[in-house]
């Protein structure tokens, strides 16, 4: 396979897998808190997490550039500590993918956790189990279908991420040209052969991941 195809595929998978892993981990924690705890500012927290879902990706990307740039709040701290700027690296693409796919994970997982009957948790409490244990061994296993759905959606979103990624990571061949960005530039350059190839790979990949997920879910009784 030529490098024109191979590199975008590998970097896209690397970015999507890493971002989805972090999204799943943090998303589950946020979702549990949103579904099961009452605290001041819950509505604000919920809105902040959901915001990237409704904002145009370019706006999200712009805000990330402002935040992560050398003069940005986070970027400045990072630069002072390490002398490294994250913008226009594949790591920045991971952050973009994380931010835009987190709402999908949180929305789906929160709904799934809320749908778990609290009586199961109460029963676990009366049997002497602490909240953390109960969450890990009762609540989350019973919400696993929703958690998986959220993870798959987040992965798909990360693979397809374009706007915010372009803003924070650019389109640097051999460094940050992900599949969706490569398709765009191939199309712009009139290289329809490359564009077709990348599109076919992306479609097949998406179909496969959906089929595998459906099969997995069907094998679960609960």
């Amino acid at each position: 396979m030529p490098d024109q195809i191979w590199f975008p595929l590998v970097i896209t998978l690397k970015i999507a897998i890493l971002s989805t892993f972090v999204v799943a981990l943090i998303g589950i924690i946020i979702s549990y808190i949103l579904a099961r705890r009452d605290f001041r500012g819950k509505l604000i927290a919920d809105s902040l997490v959901t915001l990237p879902l409704v904002l145009p990706p370019t706006v999200t990307g712009y805000l990330l550039v402002v935040l992560l740039g050398k003069n940005g709040f986070l970027g400045n701290i990072l630069y002072d500590l390490t002398g490294w700027t994250i913008l226009f690296t594949w790591e920045a693409a991971v952050i973009a993918a994380f931010v835009v796919s987190l709402p999908l994970m949180v929305k789906t997982t929160t709904a799934a956790i809320e749908a778990v009957d609290r009586e199961f948790e109460y029963a676990a409490f009366t049997l002497g189990r602490k909240e953390l244990e109960t969450a890990l061994f009762i609540t989350l296993p019973l919400a696993k279908k929703g958690i998986l759905a959220g993870t798959v959606l987040s992965f798909a979103r990360a693979v397809g991420e374009f706007g915010a990624t372009l803003m924070v990571a650019g389109n640097i061949p051999g460094r940050t040209n992900t599949m969706s960005i490569s398709i765009y530039s191939a199309f712009q350059a009139g290289n329809s052969e490359l564009a077709n190839m990348l599109v076919i790979i992306l479609v097949v990949m998406s179909l496969l991941s959906m089929a595998i997920t459906a099969k997995l879910v069907n094998s679960w009784k609960i």
Partner: protein, 373 residues
């Protein structure tokens, strides 16, 4: 020993209402003490029974008061003690079983035995399976069990950690009659064997009557009466209790006492008079009092029996007849009395009179069965 409960729990329309001093929309204010006995909490839905169990178990925190179980303080508002649920030694059985669907029967029963030695744990699970007669089901998942089996597993799970008290929240309401009757016996048997206090919520009369050593009647967040089933069902203390225990004929009438038979009093109901035994509290002439009679304590006689034949006998017109299987329920209209009387008679006795809507008959209110409160 036993459970000692005296607490308050308030509910507000909005959270901010409490701070602003706006009155609570519902206040639960309960006091009772139970020993090693089977106690039924009886009352309508919304009367505070479940909230009471949740406060005892620690799933809810009361606003004030004290809860102790066998000298362990579970909650004490003044000393700021509120033992977490996990540290209260109790078994809780939910109406819908709440069996963990992703665990088999073995795992469900063993879930409360955290930190037990493996052999001890297995021994306890076997013991529970035997006690509740569900051996052979240990590798089944909850979805593969019948309702009765599920509730047996739920009981086994609650009892396995050897709790100090057992709390059951309408445990049998989703089960059919036959299974329910068997499980009632089982609960009684278990209580006698383990000798722990058992609190059992129900709103089913028969259930309350058949299993309880003691009944606690709830109405609108307050305990109305506590006593044996006989005391509560035959001698309700007030109108709320009377209505709850199925005393469906309740009237408010004036005492007239014209005949001076000692030990009795006469009530004037419209143009009718009813004679009743004097209650153990004072009733003055022309005072309005509430009285009632259970539907099964009305006697229905054919019209051919003489009207003069007995006290409290009236001519009545049948408005409706409903067959309940073993008995029939009749709505009777008595001339010159505005309220309908409800009578319930065994089907065998009903065959003798054989009435249908529109027929006339005699209705006799048994003097000794009249309840005055």
């Amino acid at each position: 020993m036993g459970i000692k409960v005296d607490f308050r729990k308030r509910y507000y329309n909005k959270k901010s209402d409490k701070k602003r001093g706006i009155a609570a929309t519902f206040t639960l204010d309960v006091q009772f003490e139970v020993g090693n006995e089977l106690v039924v909490l009886f009352g309508r839905s919304g009367s505070g029974k479940t909230t009471t169990l949740q406060c005892i178990s620690g799933l809810l925190e009361p606003n004030g008061g004290k809860i102790t179980v066998n000298d362990n303080v579970y909650f004490d508002c003044h000393k700021r003690i509120n033992l977490p649920v996990q540290q209260r030694s109790l078994g809780y059985v939910f109406q819908n079983y709440a069996l963990f669907p992703h665990m088999d029967v073995n795992k469900n029963i063993g879930y409360g035995l955290k930190g037990w030695d493996k052999e001890e744990k297995e021994k306890m699970i076997r013991e529970m399976l035997q006690m509740l007669q569900i051996d052979g089901l240990e590798n089944n998942y909850p979805s593969q069990l019948s309702g009765g089996q599920k509730q047996r597993v739920a009981l086994a799970r609650a009892l396995a950690p050897k709790p100090d008290i057992l709390l059951l929240d309408e445990p049998f309401s989703a089960l059919d009659m036959v299974v329910r009757m068997k499980l009632r016996e089982k609960i009684k048997e278990i209580q006698r064997e383990l000798e722990i206090p058992v609190l059992f919520i129900t709103h089913n009369h028969v259930e309350a009557f058949t299993i309880a050593d003691k009944v606690i009647i709830f109405h609108e967040g307050r305990v109305q009466q506590t006593g044996t089933p006989e005391e509560v069902f035959y001698h309700p203390k007030n109108r709320h209790v009377a209505e709850l225990v199925g005393l469906s004929n309740i009237f408010e009438d004036t005492v007239v006492n014209e005949e001076n038979t000692p030990g009795t009093l006469t009530l004037k109901c419209g143009n009718l008079q009813v004679t009743a035994n004097k209650p153990d509290f004072d009733c003055n002439i022309s005072e309005r009092i509430t009285w009632g009679i259970r539907p099964e304590n009305l006697r229905i006689l054919p019209l051919s029996d003489s009207l003069e034949s007995g006290e409290n006998t009236y001519q009545a017109c049948v408005k409706s007849v409903v067959n309940k299987g073993a008995s029939r329920v009749l709505a009777l209209e008595i001339e010159e009395h505005e309220n309908l009387l409800i009578a319930e008679i065994a089907n065998q006795l009903f065959e003798d009179v054989d009435l249908k809507a529109g027929d006339k008959c005699l209705a006799m209110i048994e003097k000794s069965r009249i309840v005055i409160f």
